[in-house]
C-alpha cells in the first residue's frame, strides 16, 4: 500500500477518505443537540447521586471495571488504557472511585462549543450509571440516551459477528491470525456492515523493527471502523486468506451495549502489545461489556492469541453459527477440481493472453461455459494480484469474459461452493513442551524444549496453512548424565519456513529463515554455543496430496571464536520431503549439502528425519534422527520425544 499513517497523520487519512466520499457530507444526518441554553446543574442533586454511587460501591462493581478496562496486574490495579482522553479524573487510570465521581459530575456540565460532551462520549458508562442511580434525564443538559438511539437506529444494527482471517500461503506469520468485530446490518447486508478493527498504528515499514516495537508496546493501538467489504477485499482477495465468521448469540440489547462501548473507545489509544494486549484481546472487551456476566478478558497469561480468543467465545457458548468465506485462491483451487486438464489449459492460456476470446470460446463446450468463465474470472483476479499480468490486460480480458458470462443463462450453471476445510479452532494449541531422551555421538542425554508459539512442520496442520512453520523463541536444553553436563542446545529468535506449493496455476517461492544461538560444532569436533543464521529459498510441489517435496538454495552462517575469522560460512542446498498420512503419521525429512568457504573450508552434510505420531490433539510422540558430517567427522543424534501442546 502507498502509505501508512500514525495518529498524527489522522488528518491526512480523513482528507483522503473524504476524497473517496467516505464521509458524504450531504448524507450525514446531522442531529443537533436539543439543549436548553440556560441549562444549569443542580449541585445538590449531583452530590446526592455521587453519594448514592459511593454508598452502593459502584466503583467496585465488576461492570465498572470492565468499562474502564481495569485489570489487576504486577503493578497493581490500573486500566489497560493509556490515553488521557479516556479518563475524566486526573488519576482515572488507577482510581476507579475518582473516575466514577468525575464521570457522574461530567454528565451535568453545560455544553461547550467544540468539545464533545461526556454524555455523548461515554454513553455506555451513562447507560449503566443511569440504571443503577435512576438518573432523572430531565436534569441533564440534554437527553443522552435519546440522542444515541436516534443515531443507532439509523445504522440498523442486527447481529454481532466475530471474524477470523486464517493464515495464508507464503506468510507463516499470518497463522497467528487476527480478529474483527462486525455489527451486521439488519437487512443481512453483511458486506457493507461496519467492521471494527483494533490495530497498532505505525508508519514503520521495516519489518524487524516493527516486530520488536510491536512486541514491547512501542506503538499505540486504536479501534477503527470500515465497511466489511474493505476487509474482505484485503484478506480474501489481496492476501488470499480464508475467512471464518462466527455469529454471536448476543441479544439486541447486548449488541447495542457493545456498540456504545465502541463509541467510548473511539480515538482512544492504548499501548499495543503483540502477545497479549493485541487486536483480538481488545475486541473481547466489547463482548464483556455487551453481556455483564461474561469475563472473557481474564484468564490469559503471557499471550492471547487470536485463535484462543475464538476458542474462548466457543467455550462461553457465545457462537451461534459459523460461516466460511473462502479466499480467492481457495475458490480457484476448489473450482479447478471439477475442470478437465484440457479446459484448465485453455483457461490459463486465455488469462495469460496466449489465446484470444474467440479461440477460447470455440474450444469449450456449451454446457461448460458458465463454469469456465467463472473460473477464468477468479484466475484473472489472482494473476493481477500476483503481478503476473498488467492491469490493462486484466481489464480487457475481464470484460471479455464477463460479457460472455452475462450472455450465458444460469439454468445449466451448477451452484459452486468451496468445500469447507477444517475450521481454525480445530488446530492444535500453539505452545509446545517436549521431553526427550536420546544419544548424541554415543553420549546419552535428556532434553527439555519449549516453544511459546506457534506451529512447526512436524505438528498437525489441521486447521492451519499447509507447509508453513513459524516458531517464536523456541529453545531446548540438554543434560548429559555421563559427564554431568548441562548445555543449552538451541534458542531461535524466530524460525520461519514457508513451503508454498507451486502448481499449474501458480509458481510460488519457498523460503526458510532461522536465527539465534545454538551449539556449533568446532574444527576440533567439540561444541560451543554461538550465534547462527540459516536462510534459504526455492520451490516446492506436491503429489497426490500426500507427498510434498521441496528444494532450496541455502546458506548457513555460524559464529565462534574457535573458527578462522570467527565464522563458518556455508553455501549449498537442501532437499526435503514431507509425508502426511491421515493427520496421524507425519514424516519430515531433509538433507543439506553445503560447502564451507572463505574462512573454514569444509564439506557439510546433514540428514534429518522426524517421524510424528499424533495420539490426541494435545499429545504426540516424535522420533528424530540427525546425521551430520562436518570437519571430516560424522555424528549421529537419535532421540524420542513426548510432546504436549497446550
Amino acid at each position: 500500500m502507498l502509505f501508512n499513517n500514525t495518529i498524527k497523520y489522522g488528518l491526512t487519512a480523513v482528507l483522503f477518505l473524504m476524497s473517496l466520499n467516505i464521509f458524504p457530507q450531504n448524507q450525514a444526518t446531522s442531529i443537533e443537540y436539543v439543549a436548553d441554553p440556560s441549562y444549569s446543574a443542580d449541585p445538590a442533586y449531583i452530590d446526592s447521586l455521587v453519594k448514592k454511587a459511593i454508598d452502593l460501591k459502584l466503583y467496585d462493581d465488576p461492570y465498572w471495571k470492565k468499562l474502564l478496562h481495569y485489570k489487576v496486574g504486577l503493578h497493581g490495579g490500573r486500566s489497560l488504557i493509556d490515553d488521557k482522553k479516556f479518563f475524566l479524573a486526573e488519576n482515572g487510570k488507577r482510581s476507579l472511585k475518582d473516575e466514577l465521581v468525575a464521570t457522574i459530575r461530567a454528565f451535568f456540565t453545560p455544553i461547550e462549543k467544540d468539545k464533545t460532551h461526556a454524555g455523548i462520549r461515554f454513553i455506555a458508562r451513562f447507560s449503566w450509571l443511569s440504571e443503577k442511580l435512576s438518573i432523572d434525564k430531565n436534569r441533564l443538559p440534554f437527553d443522552f440516551e435519546g440522542r444515541f438511539n436516534k443515531y443507532y437506529e439509523s445504522i440498523n444494527v442486527g447481529k454481532a459477528i466475530v471474524v477470523f482471517p486464517a493464515g495464508y500461503m507464503g506468510s507463516p506469520a499470518s497463522m497467528f491470525g487476527h480478529t474483527l468485530f462486525i455489527f451486521e446490518n439488519k437487512q443481512n447486508k453483511r458486506i457493507i456492515s461496519p467492521a471494527i478493527n483494533y490495530a497498532a498504528n505505525t508508519t514503520e515499514d521495516f519489518g524487524p523493527i516493527f516486530a520488536v516495537k510491536g512486541l514491547f508496546g512501542f506503538y499505540y493501538g486504536y479501534f477503527s471502523v470500515m465497511p466489511y467489504s474493505d476487509k474482505i477485499n484485503e484478506y480474501n482477495n489481496s492476501e488470499m486468506r480464508d475467512m471464518w465468521e462466527y455469529t454471536l448469540n448476543l441479544s439486541d440489547d447486548e449488541v447495542k451495549r457493545a456498540f456504545k462501548h465502541v463509541v467510548e473507545m473511539d480515538k482512544v489509544g492504548s499501548r499495543y502489545f503483540f502477545l497479549d494486549e493485541n487486536c483480538s484481546y481488545n475486541l473481547l472487551f466489547l463482548i464483556d461489556v455487551a453481556r455483564p456476566e461474561l469475563d472473557l478478558t481474564s484468564g490469559y497469561f503471557f499471550s492471547a492469541e487470536p485463535i484462543d480468543t475464538i476458542r474462548g467465545l466457543i467455550k462461553a457458548d457465545l457462537v451461534k453459527k459459523r460461516d466460511y468465506r473462502p479466499s480467492l485462491f481457495s475458490q480457484i483451487m476448489g473450482r479447478s477440481e471439477s475442470v478437465s486438464s484440457a479446459d484448465s489449459d485453455l483457461v490459463i492460456k486465455f488469462a495469460k493472453g496466449n489465446i484470444s476470446i474467440e479461440e477460447f470460446n470455440s474450444s469449450i463446450s456449451q454446457n461448460k461455459k458458465a463454469e469456465l468463465y467463472d473460473f477464468t474470472t477468479d484466475y484473472l483476479k489472482f494473476l493481477l494480484i500476483k503481478d503476473k499480468i498488467k492491469i490493462e490486460d486484466y481489464q480487457k480480458r475481464l470484460l471479455q469474459i464477463l460479457n460472455e458470462r452475462s450472455r450465458v443463462n444460469n439454468e445449466n450453471a451448477v451452484e459452486f461452493s468451496v468445500k469447507e476445510p477444517f475450521p481454525p479452532e480445530s488446530s492444535h494449541r500453539s505452545r509446545k513442551l517436549s521431553f526427550s531422551g536420546g544419544t548424541y555421538d554415543k553420549f546419552k542425554y535428556y532434553q527439555l524444549a519449549f516453544r511459546p508459539s506457534c506451529h512447526s512442520l512436524i505438528d498437525s496442520d489441521k486447521g492451519l496453512s499447509k507447509g508453513s512453520e513459524i516458531e517464536f523463541m523456541p529453545f531446548s536444553a540438554r543434560y548429559y548424565p555421563e559427564n554431568k553436563k548441562f548445555k543449552f542446545e538451541k534458542l531461535s529468535v524466530v524460525r520461519v519456513i514457508s513451503l508454498s506449493e507451486s502448481n499449474r496455476y501458480n509458481v510460488a517461492n519457498c523460503y526458510l529463515l532461522d536465527t539465534g544461538g545454538r551449539q556449533n560444532i568446532l574444527p576440533d569436533h567439540t561444541q560451543s554455543f554461538g550465534a547462527f543464521l540459516n536462510g534459504g529459498t526455492g520451490y516446492s510441489t506436491s503429489f497426490f496430496d500426500l507427498f510434498q517435496i521441496y528444494g532450496m538454495a541455502e546458506t548457513d552462517l555460524r559464529f565462534s571464536g574457535q573458527y578462522n575469522y570467527n565464522s563458518l560460512i556455508c553455501f549449498g542446498g537442501r532437499l526435503g520431503l514431507i509425508f502426511d498420512v491421515l493427520d496421524v503419521w507425519k514424516s519430515v525429512v531433509s538433507a543439506d549439502f553445503m560447502r564451507g568457504v572463505f574462512t573454514e573450508k569444509t564439506n557439510v552434510m546433514r540428514f534429518t528425519a522426524e517421524e510424528r505420531i499424533k495420539i490426541t490433539s494435545f499429545f504426540q510422540i516424535t522420533g528424530c534422527y540427525t546425521q551430520e558430517y562436518i570437519f571430516k567427522r560424522r555424528t549421529h543424534d537419535i532421540s524420542a520425544r513426548a510432546e504436549i501442546l497446550f
Binding site: M1, L2, N4, N5, I7, A13, V14, L17, S19, N21, I22, F23, P24, A28, T29, D114, I120, R121, I155, A173, S174, G177, H178, T179, Q187, K189, I192, N197, A200, N201, D205, G207, A211, G214, S224, V225, M226, P227, D230, N233, E234, N237, S238, V262, V263, M265, K267, F274, C279, Y373, T377, K381, L384, I391, Q395, L398, L399, L402, R405, A413
Partner: protein
C-alpha cells in the same frame, strides 16, 4: 526535518493517490484488488503483529457533537459501494447472482430482486461499457438501466 519531509511525502502521496485513484471519476476495474497489497517484508513479519496494514484507521465518530459523521453512514452510499467493490460487483452482475449484486439490490430498495439482477445481467455491456470504465460511470449506467 526528516519528520517534516515524511509528512510532506505522505501528504503528497495522499493527494496524488486520491487524484489518481478516486479523483472525481471514481476508480477503475482492478485498482481495488491492488490496493490491499502490502510490501514483501510486511508480508513476512508484520501480518501477525498488526493484522492490518495500519492505513485504514479512521474514526468511529467524529465532530464534537458526536455521531453524525463517519464511515458508518457512508456505507449506505451506492457510489462508495461500487467504487470499493468494482470487480466483485462486475462479476456478480455478469453471473446474475451473488452477495454483491444482492447488496446493491437492497441499496436500491427494489422489491423484485430477481428481476433487478436479471435486468442488470442482460445489460452488462451497457453498464461496463469499456475497459477504462470508472465507478462513477458504472453507477450512472446502472441508474440508466434500472430506470430505463
Amino acid at each position: 526535518m526528516k519528520k517534516i519531509l515524511s509528512l510532506v511525502a505522505v501528504f503528497g502521496l495522499v493527494f496524488a493517490s486520491a487524484e489518481a485513484f478516486a479523483g472525481n471519476a471514481g476508480c477503475g476495474l482492478g485498482s481495488v484488488l491492488l490496493k490491499g497489497k502490502k510490501g514483501k517484508v510486511m508480508e513476512l513479519l508484520a501480518t501477525c503483529l498488526n493484522g492490518t496494514s495500519g492505513n485504514q484507521t479512521f474514526a468511529i465518530t467524529s465532530g464534537t457533537s458526536g455521531y453524525e459523521e463517519g464511515a458508518v453512514i457512508g456505507m449506505t452510499d451506492v457510489e462508495v459501494f461500487v467504487a470499493k467493490n468494482m470487480d466483485s460487483l462486475a462479476t456478480d452482475i455478469a453471473r446474475g447472482n451473488g452477495e454483491y449484486v444482492d447488496t446493491l439490490a437492497s441499496m436500491y430498495k427494489v422489491q423484485d430482486v430477481d428481476g433487478f439482477k436479471t435486468k442488470l445481467k442482460n445489460n452488462f455491456d451497457k453498464i461496463y461499457t469499456n475497459t477504462g470504465v470508472t465507478s462513477k460511470e458504472v453507477v450512472a449506467n446502472i441508474n440508466d438501466v434500472v430506470n430505463g
